[in-house]
């Protein structure tokens, strides 16, 4: 699929819509901890990374965070900064694990992504508020991220091994 072609734009727009819908839905599920989420949108990012590579996954990830923050009214606020930094840190680490550290399956990549997302958010909050007191939330946030990361990882593994999805994503002509 050629980058910039009608097919490429259509497929990426559909994947972005899916990631956005999941992102907005999960923002309404309260965990009681600032920044803690189910990480459903990460399912789409991992699948895109697997099928289409770095650029597509990065594009969808950045646009997802930007548009979701506009839709939920957090754009340019602290929530947005935390969300963007978490998304970028987890994305880069997931890509490194997926591309170069070949010992992990999508489950390990997802766990790494979820954990680094929490850690990056906390570190940004530490810088923003100028206190290490924010780390109070980290143990619980990290345990939640490990659980959600594992579940999402197995879901991604099932999906990328699904023949029907493979045919759809690879767009067999």
């Amino acid at each position: 699929m050629k980058r910039g072609s009608i097919k490429w734009i259509t497929v990426h727009a559909m994947l972005l819509s899916l990631a956005l819908a999941l992102s907005i839905v999960e923002s309404f599920i309260p965990f009681g901890i600032p920044g803690a989420k189910l990480g459903l949108a990460n399912l789409v990012i991992l699948i895109v990374m697997h099928f289409y590579g770095f650029f597509s996954a990065l594009l969808i990830n950045v646009l997802r965070v930007l548009i979701a923050s506009l839709a939920t009214g957090t754009f340019l606020g602290m929530g947005f900064v935390m969300s963007l930094s978490g998304a970028m840190a987890s994305f880069l680490l997931m890509y490194v694990a997926h591309r170069w550290i070949k010992i992990f399956t999508p489950v390990g990549v997802s766990i790494l992504g979820a954990y680094s997302h929490s850690l990056a958010q906390i570190l940004v909050a530490v810088i923003y508020y100028g206190t290490w007191g924010v780390f109070y939330y980290f143990p619980l946030m990290a345990l939640i991220s490990l659980a959600t990361g594992t579940i999402n990882g197995f879901a991604v593994e099932l999906l990328i091994n699904n023949r029907s999805l493979q045919r759809t994503m690879e767009l067999k002509r």
């Binding site: 923002s27 600032p34 606020g77 602290m78 010992i103 390990g108 790494l112 508020y129 143990p139 990290a142």
Partner: protein, 144 residues
Amino acid sequence: MTEEAVQTQTPKKKNFFLKHLFDFLLLGVLALGTASAYIVRAVQKSQVKSLDLTARITKLGQELMTINLYEEGETERNFTIEGTKGKLTIGVKKNAIHVHDAECPGQECVHEGWVSEPNHPIICAHNGIYISISSYNWSEVIIR
């Protein structure tokens, strides 16, 4: 289940664990590290004896006010502060503080409820508000 079926299932099960060996190792290491941090926090919490608490409210790192929570009454007192994007109504009573109401989409700070534990902060990321609670240092007063 026939013997043949058992024989065909065993390698599949083995494959699953072998395939995910490093994933489970990673999960174990991270879970262990996080659990240790959780235990350290619980131990620190249990060592705090004083119940005389103070709350410090900051906006984007700038101190807005400090409240001696031990001087508050048993009934709740409310006041409003201005965050970066909206207002927050803070409620205080003896040795406890909470965010009663906040103009933010997530409402995580409101869901946090009453906090009466040192080192347990309340954060309203949307409004840049950070409320830290600490044990009042009486020894410092005596030395002064």
